[in-house]
Amino acid sequence: MPIEKGGYRAWKGKTRGLTHRIFSIANCELRYRLKRPAIIVVLAILGLYTVTTGLIPILGNLIGGENMFVNDPNLYFNPYQVPDIVVTGVSISNTSDTLEHIEPGLELFELGLEPGQTAVYQLEITNAGTRSGSFKLMLGGNSGTNAWIIRLLEGSIPLDKRSENPPDAAVDYNGTRTRQSDGKRQLPGDSTEINGDNKYGNLVLDLDSGSSKTISIKVSLVEDTVTFDTLALSLSVSNNNDNDWFVGEEDIATQFKTKVRLDLFTKITWPATSLKSFMKVELTGVKDSSGTWSGDRIKNIYHAPPEVRWEDTVEFTFRITNADDQTVYVKRLHDPDSDYYRIQLDDEFGGSNTTYGDSNEEEPKEIKSDESETFTVIVNPYIEFKPGKSYLQLIFMASENEGSFDQDIIQSSQKGGGGGMNLNFTSVPYMVISYTQPVDDWTAEYFFNTFYTGGINIWVILLAVLGGSGLIADDRANKTLPLYYSKAIPKYGYLAGKFLGLAALIGLVTVVWSNLWVAIIMLVGGFSWQFFTSHAWIMGAFTLYGLIITFFMSALVLGASSLAKNRYVVGASVFALFLITAIMGGIISAVTREYNYLMLSPSANFIFIGTALFDLGTPEVDWGYALMTLGGIFIFFIGVLYWQLVKREVSIE
């Protein structure tokens, strides 16, 4: 094409402002990155991960309706609460009826037995846990009459293990010799019979991990018409020799509904190692200026680690500092309200002792002004009643003299629980559903922890590194910076364009997809509109949290990219930064027992901010400090960018 007549400057087109030019850079960079295979793979993994973990409950909800997971005990999976019961065979004598005719889940139901008829239930009980345990069968019912008999058929139950306190005085369990309700002596191998109103009998089975035993139960009707208020076969479990029975029980009538479960019990184990937590409780300020001791002024709410399981041992370390100007006396009251933890105290307060929930006051410990005492509490949670509902309480008492104590309470409010899992074709989806269920009162926690594992998802870091490492490093290596710097865009415009391109890529996941994901789960997953509106704040939290991550990661990666000419060096450096700071923060914090050192790690800071933002409790470090730390790093890298690309003469290289 010839040069235009009248001069090469003949072009009269309009030009647009700086914003347009910045967006041109951002748009080009984003479009290129969205075509890169590595980034597509990371985005696909992110999408797949969040969809599979977050949206599977939708399928269940669509099938089962709203709150299906919360209300259906068969999908509420907790092997410690519900030992697996397998009905291997059912027969009812003198009748063609089967147990399928029993309506599940009703308080009142008809057995469908004619007078004189007998139903025989055969059950297989398997210990799915990793420990040996004792299983207690509680048989009984309340019919308002004495017109029925439940009998454990002879030979099915070992008679050498009986309940210590049989409720029916007529049944005298005594080793191998027992007496039946009719007063007759019972010999080994004989059946156990319970009849009458409000009668229950207990039998105990010892089961090693993974072993099974089969029992048979016979129910006979002796009167014409019987309507049962309840007819229950309850199972309780214990994992200690003292037979501290777990209170949970299952109504056999409900369990019969699940007779089709033919599980092959394969235990998935997790490390039964000690989960050592270095947590500090500063009981400073136990006394106010008026000199009055008060139990509600302690602000340190101490969280037990989540997912405390049967096998876990958790060790807590506390430090009590006397902030008063005079000597005080401190003692503890152990675990007064919980039946579900065993607390072993091992410290200078009085050596090792164990409590199961009873009050157990200690001798007071003298702490002088401005001095501290540290001690350790080892907790073996052995049975949970229900995940999410357990508490560990440690009550501290302080006094100016050894006589009068006031209480300060530090308690855990974190969910615990969990348990063994049965792995098979039917239980795998069952497990997935049960572990991802959006349980009512942990909604925010569920969303946050599912989307951002570890405060900032590793895939988000990878995405930022893949998308941002070469943004400036490549321009420096290829000496293409002058291409930009000779255009009608200021240097900071170049910087802003690159920043925006990377931020848009990260924001696609942390802001756009996260909100979409939450909205889909809330709206499509069978939740009500009211649920959505009442929990819409979670989307705001996701937006804010996503923006914090986006801006931080963009500045960090872009800043690193301006310091090197090799994108791989940049990527490795960013990963190293996260890894090394996490290790350093953890070690220093552990050694010094000082939480604040955890702020060395950006990941930890994200957790602290997320904990506060999503209302998950009180973070170990104040979220304001965490935000300031991240802000400081952000400003530092913006300064690096300014120096490297605006202030310096980059073309000298």
Binding site: M1, P2, I3, K5, G6, G7, Y8, R9, A10, W11, G13, K14, T15, R16, G17, H20, R21, S24, I25, C28, Y32, K35, A477, N478, K479, T480, P482, L483, Y484, Y485, S486, K487, A488, I489, P490, K491, E649, V650, S651, I652
Partner: protein, 327 residues
């Protein structure tokens, strides 16, 4: 020839080009440019000098990439450092070869022209015009990764001229191009610098005769100093008496050598088997460069690369500065 300070007297003229006033630039202990005063006006101006002479430093200075440590530079009456208004008038074709390999030639030019603020429609129109001008229309849809060196030079040139600049800086625009492409780019540069276009073109090279085919007006820099400024004819008269060395790369180097040695302008031909090039010593370069394409066409010999050896240019400058003959 002595170094000449180009100091136009009237202010009006100064504001119609780029004026370097006693400019020095140093990098730590190393002097990049020493006390240069020059004026770059309309038309094509050649910037000649061997590697390390200060050509790139001078171009970076006048394009506003770096600041002078001493002196000042104005373009059209305004400062050049960090001045977006000035950059709007500037077209810059840098020396580097690596570009955004994943983009097509069109996307590359379109992307960069939009950094001047053009919208989608205008940007695309300007990009196509520039691509057409450099003769890359057919290849514009291909990714840059597939381009030859010559194509890359052209597409770089396209991005430099797409936004209709008032002044154009071309840093070694002929590097790596084949002889035919070289002729086309030279013609294009001459066309761009034509008086009718009204724009200024500063083109750098370390090959004297390439520059000479574009313009008669040159700035010669050597060891950071402005060595000569003025009409090329004057300089060429002296240089014609001085032998030049070339390297020519061809798949048929021995057949080519046979024809070269018969040319009166060629004083010697050496086959460098190690580097697979012919090393040719010539006199009267003008005559040689005008005859060479004809011989190549007639004998159907293709050459891959034609280059001047740096040390010879060094020798020329030594000769110009009175330091003696070549090596």
């Amino acid at each position: 020839m002595k170094a000449v300070s180009a100091g136009p007297a009237d202010r009006e003229k100064l504001e119609d080009g780029i004026f370097l006033n006693n400019v020095s630039k140093w990098y730590g202990q190393v002097m990049g440019l020493i006390d240069v005063t020059a004026f770059i006006g309309k038309g094509v101006t050649g910037l000649l000098g061997p590697n390390g002479a200060g050509k790139s430093t001078l171009i970076k200075l006048v394009t506003g990439q770096i600041r002078p440590n001493k002196g000042n530079i104005t373009a059209f009456g305004m400062p050049v450092w960090n001045n977006s208004r000035y950059y709007r008038m500037v077209g810059y074709c840098p020396e580097f070869e690596n570009m955004y390999e994943w983009l097509t030639g069109f996307d590359f030019v379109n992307y960069l022209v939009r950094l001047h603020g053009y919208g989608k429609k205008d940007g695309e129109k300007l990009a196509w015009q520039a691509i057409d001008t450099v003769g890359m229309t057919k290849e514009a849809g291909r990714k840059i990764a597939t381009y030859s060196k010559g194509m890359r030079q052209r597409i770089k040139l396209a991005q430099a001229i797409a936004h209709k600049p008032k002044i154009l800086f071309l840093d070694e625009p002929l590097a790596g191009t084949d002889p035919i492409g070289r002729v086309e780019i030279i013609n294009l540069i001459r066309q761009l610098g034509d008086e009718k276009s009204g724009i200024s073109v500063l083109v750098s090279s370390h090959i004297l005769h390439e520059i000479e085919r574009m313009t008669k007006r040159v700035l010669m820099v050597h060891k950071g100093r402005l060595l000569a400024w003025g009409d090329m004819n004057e300089i060429r008269d002296k240089l014609d008496r001085f032998p030049h060395s070339l390297s020519i790369s061809s798949a048929e180097d021995r057949r080519l050598a046979k024809y070269l040695i018969n040319m009166p302008e060629v004083s010697s031909v050496m086959v460098d088997e190690k580097e697979s090039v012919l090393r040719v010593k010539i006199l009267k370069p003008d005559n040689f460069y005008s005859k060479l394409p004809k011989i190549l066409a007639k004998e159907k010999i293709s050459i891959d690369q034609l280059g001047s050896l740096d040390e010879d240019l060094e020798s020329i400058f030594a000769y110009l500065t009175g330091g003696g003959g070549g090596k």
